[in-house]
Amino acid sequence: MDVYEVFRRGGHKEPFEHCGSVIAPDSEMGLLMAKECFLRRREGEHLWLVRRTDIHSFKDESLLEIAADKSYRFAHAYRDVVKKRDKARERARELGETG
């Protein structure tokens, strides 16, 4: 018997989300069980079954921590740019008028 992780999709444009697991002798049987366990009240319209041993993850999850300041990867870090650009344009205009 294998453990299968079950993923369910609520609607056509929804992402698959993990909803539980089943223990089954093979994937065909697993799908039948998953349907009864996780889709019996119309919770979704599609199921995925993945053998647990086929799922990969970092053994050392500390690798996923963000160690340093990564604000430059977010748009809010550049909010000032618009203001600065306007100021620069204004300055350029003034220089144009006086020069």
Binding site: S62, E65, A68, Y72, R73, V81
Partner: protein
């Protein structure tokens, strides 16, 4: 601040900035779209580390981080020559990535015991990212070394090129003796180099790549590899007095290649256009 600490911070920061800049040149051009993002992230990490180190230096000595990073003459930079070399091809880039991050891991491990408290905290932070960089570099060279033949041969060429100049990363920094004596650099560069050679020899053995990796042009910074992968290096304390500098050496005293001048022109052009501007 201690001139020895300033020298150490400058060498560390310049290494990270210049290699980060070279890495960033792959953005949009890496041979694999996901890797393009991954490698660009690593470039940002390295430049981020440089920024943190420059900030620490600026805090202590006045001045500002941007000015230190971009407002100096090319001859004032103290990174190893290896960091400034053009990317050449993906194989060389990977080989240098591996050489650098292996060397960096060894250096950071030693710096966990540095006498400066702020640097110590920064090293802890940086180590967490550098650990991932090394995992990334390892993963790549292991796969390329496993074949097919063309990629493996290119990697061997790249490793040969990178190893020839690796010793430049362990060239003594300015005021090295003082830095060791004052505890900022807990181990002398020669000991770090020894550790690097040991690790590198094991890795090459593990990859089973051709290990005739040696310096062509000189005896001052020779990496000789036996077929077992053992690297033997011969140091030379009188490199300064030699008419022709050993390949890959000189960076720690500001002797850089024309290739660095090209990099510097590009890297600092915006800053020079409007010094002191905030972005």
């Amino acid at each position: 601040m201690s001139e020895a600490l300033a020298s150490l911070l400058t060498a560390l920061a310049d290494d990270e900035l210049i290699l980060g800049h070279r890495h960033s040149e792959w953005t949009g051009f890496a041979p694999h779209i996901e890797e393009d993002v991954a490698f660009s992230s690593i470039a940002q990490d390295e430049i981020g580390h440089a920024a943190a180190l420059y900030s620490l230096l600026a805090q202590r000595s006045g001045g500002d981080a941007d000015g230190l990073a971009l407002g100096r003459d090319a001859a004032a930079y103290r990174h190893a020559v290896l960091c400034e070399r053009p990317n050449r091809d993906w194989a060389y880039t990977l080989a240098r990535h591996w050489v650098y991050d292996t060397a960096d891991a060894i250096r950071l491990e030693a710096l966990h015991d540095t006498a400066d408290e702020d640097l110590r905290a920064l090293v802890t932070k940086m180590s967490r990212e550098e650990r991932y960089h090394l995992i990334h570099a390892d993963a790549w060279i292991e796969r390329v070394a496993a074949g097919p033949v063309e990629g493996r041969m290119k990697l061997e060429d790249g490793l040969k090129e990178a190893f020839e100049e690796a010793l430049g990363l362990f060239e003594p920094i300015e005021h090295e003796e003082k830095a060791v004596h004052e505890g900022y650099l807990p181990l002398p560069s020669s000991e770090l180099a020894r550790r690097f050679r040991e690790l590198a020899a094991n890795k090459l053995d593990e990859l089973g790549v051709q290990t005739e990796i040696y310096s062509r042009s000189d005896e001052a910074a020779e990496f000789v590899a036996s077929s077992s992968g053992d690297l033997i290096a011969s140091g030379d304390e009188h490199a300064e007095s030699q008419p022709e500098r050993a390949r890959g050496l000189g960076g720690r005293s500001g002797h850089h290649s024309d290739e660095f001048q090209d990099l510097w022109d590009v890297m600092t052009s915006t800053y020079r256009n409007n010094p002191g501007a905030t972005w």
